[in-house]
Amino acid sequence: MDFNFSPDQEMLRKSVAEFLKKESAYEAVKDIEESKEGYDPKLWKKMAGLEWMGIHFPEAYGGFGDPFLSLCIIMEEMGKMAFPSPFFSTVIQCGILINEGGNEKHKKDLLTKIIKGRLILSLARYESDADLDPSMIRMQAHTSGDDYILNGTKMFAGDANVANKIIVAARTDEGVTLFIVDADAKGVTVKKRHTIAKDNTCDVIFNAVNVSQKDIIGKPGQGDVLLDSMERKATVAKCAEMLGGCETAMLMTAEYARGRIQFKTPIAAFQSIQHYMADMKLGYDACINYFYKVTWMIEEGIECAKDVSALKARLNEVYNTIGTLGVQIHGGIGTTREFNIALFFRRAKAFEFMMGDSQYHYEQVAQALGL
C-alpha cells in the first residue's frame, strides 16, 4: 500500500497550482462568472500550451499518456481555485467519450484539436425530467437516408454556449446513440441558464438538425454503454474538483476564524468553531483517502461502480457541510459576493447535482449491494 504521489505528479500539481494562482485569483474568477462566455479564452490557450488538455490522452494524438490520476490532480487544483473553464465538458466528458468510443478519424480530428486548445465541446445528454440513467434518454433521432434528423430539447449541457461542437445523446431504433453536432449547425439553439454556480449550464434545442451517420460515436445503440463508462471516470474527476474546493474552503475558513476577533477572543478559540472545523477536516480526510483508492481502482481497471457512487454521494454531503459551515463561521460577510467563501458554498450545491446527487448514488450502492 502506498499513498504517495510520484515525483512527476507532485511536479504537475505544483505547476498547475502556481499557474492558477498567478493567472486566476478569486477576483478574476468572479469576473469570469459574470461574463457571457463564462471562461477566459486567453487562459484556455495557455492551459493548452501547458499540455493540460492532453495529459491523459494517447501520445498518438499529441497527448501525454499520463495515468488518470494526473487528470484528477488538474481537476483538484482547479477546484481549489474555484476556476471556471470548459475543461470538464471538453476534456473529460467529451474527450473521454471520443477516446473510448470514437473511430480513428474522430480521434485524429477532434482529440488533436482538443489537446491544442482549439476545440471546445459540450455534452448534451440530460433532458427536462432530469433522469440520470443513460438508458432513460428519450429524445428521438430519426433516420433520413444515410443521415439522422434530431428533434428535441436537452438541458444541463455544460459550456454549450461556447462550444464548437456538441455531443448529443438521442434514441435511434438501435437504442441510445451519440452524435457529434456542430454548435452552429442549422436548427441548433443554445440558451444559457443562470445557476447557483454562475457557470455555463445550457439548454440546447434541436429543431430538425441534420447529422451524418459518420458523426456517430461508436455504434448506434451503444450510447448508454459509452456514457456509463465515461461517467464513472467523469464522476471521479468531479470528485477531485470537489475535494480541491473542500480543502480551500476549510483552510480559508480556519484562517478567517484565527483572525476574526469577537468578545475580545479570536473566534477560533471558541469550542463550537473548533468542533465545526474538526468536522470539516474529518469529513474531508475520510473522503480524500477513499478518493485515492477509487482513482487507483479506475486506473487498474478494477470494477468500482459501487465505490464511485459511495464516494460521490458522501462527498456531496461533505462539501456542502464544509461550504455551509464555512459561511456560518465567516458570519455575515461570508454571505457576500465580496468574500470568497461563497464561491465554494455555491459550487458545493451545484456540484451536488452534477454527475449524480446523493439519492441517486446511494441507490446505486444499494443495488450493487444486491438490494
Binding site: A130, K264, K349, M354
Partner: protein, 409 residues
Amino acid sequence: MDFRLTKQEQQLKEMYEDFFRNAIKNAPDIFKRGGGFEATFSDDEGFAFHRKMATILGEKNWLSLPWPKELGGSEASIMHQLIFNEAREVSRCPGYDFHGCAMFAPTLLVFGNDDQKKRFLPPIARGEVQYCQAWSEPDAGSDLSSLQTSAKKDGDNWVINGQKVWVTAAHRADCMFTIVRTDPESTGSKGLSYFYVDINSPGIEVRPLYYMNGAHVYNEVFFTDVRVPHKDLIGGEGNGWQVTMATMNFERSGMGFFSTGKKALDRIIDYVKTTRRNGELLSENAFIRQEIGKIYASLEAGTMLAYRVGFTQASGDMMAAASAASESKILGSEISRDISDFGTKVLGLHGMLEESDATPLLNVIEEYQNSVGLTIAGGSNEIQRSIISWMAPLNMPRWKLVNPATVKK
C-alpha cells in the same frame, strides 16, 4: 389548555387571509416566485409594489394594530397580531415594513417621549415611510456591544462618525434607527445611545453590499460628521443598550419561519405528486415521504413554540419569552435551511438553476442561498444556543475564554 380560536379571531383570520390572498394576485411575478427581502428591496418593481401595499395596509389601520387607541392603534391582542402576521407571511405579500412597524414603533411606545411618538408614529401607521436598522459594524457582529461608531454632543446636535454594516434596505429607506457610542471613555454595553436618523442627512453614504447571488438587499452605511438633533435621541443618553435589547425582543415569535416554511412544503408536496424521475413518481419514494413527514412535524412543533412565545409575552414573563424566542429563532432558521435544501434535492438537476421557468419549484435556490444568512443574522445560532443554556432552567455558567499566555499561573 385551549387552542381554539374565538369566533372573533376566526373571523379576523379569514378576513386577513382573504385580503392577502387577493392582494398578492396583483403583485409582480417576483413575489409569486416566493417574495421575501430580495423581491422587496433588490428589485425596483418589487419595491414599488411594497410601497403601494404599505399605503393600503396603512389605510386599513393594520400597521398599528397593537398600539394604544389614543395613538391611532387598535390595542389588538398578541393573538390578534399573530393571526395577522401568519396570514401575511403565508401569503408572502409585502407592504409591512418590519423595521418600522415591528421594531421601531414598539420601541417608541416604551422609550419614546410624547414629542417623538407624535412625530414618528403617524407616518409609520400610514405606511408612508421605510425604516432601516443600523446596528452591526465590521468588528461588532455577534459581539455588538464592542461597537465604535460615535456621536459627540455639539450644542443641540449630536455629530455621528463611523460605519455600520448589514443595513437591510438602507438604499430604499427614508429613516434609520441606530446605536452609537456617546461616551468616548466607555467600553462594552455602557455609554451607548439610540438615535432616530433621517437617512437623507448630509454626511451619510450608503454603499451596496451584494449578496452572494448578486442581490442588493444589504448595505454599508458610512457616517461623516452627520448631525442629528438631540430631540431624536430615544430613551435617554447612555441607555442605548437597554433600548436596543428591547427592540430586539419585540416581535420575535419566529412565526414567519414556520408560516413561509408551510407554504414551501405545500409547493414541494405538489411537485413530488406530479413528477416522475428515474422511472418512479417522486411521491412514491419512501425516502422522500420520510423527509416530508419530518419537515411537517418540525413545522407544526415549531408553530406551537412560536405561539408559546406570544402567549408567554402576553402573560408577562419576559425572561421565559426571550428564551423561547431564541429557541423559535434557531428552530425556524434551521428548518428554513433544511426545507430549501430538501427542495433543491427533490428537483434533482433542476436544483442548481436560478431561473424560474426551468425550476418547477419556485425560488428554491434563492431561498437556499438566503437561508445561510438566517442562521447568522440577529445573533448567530451559536450565540443563541449559548444564551439559552445560560438561562433557567439550564443555568450553565458563563465563563470567559482567555489567552493562556496573558494569564499568570
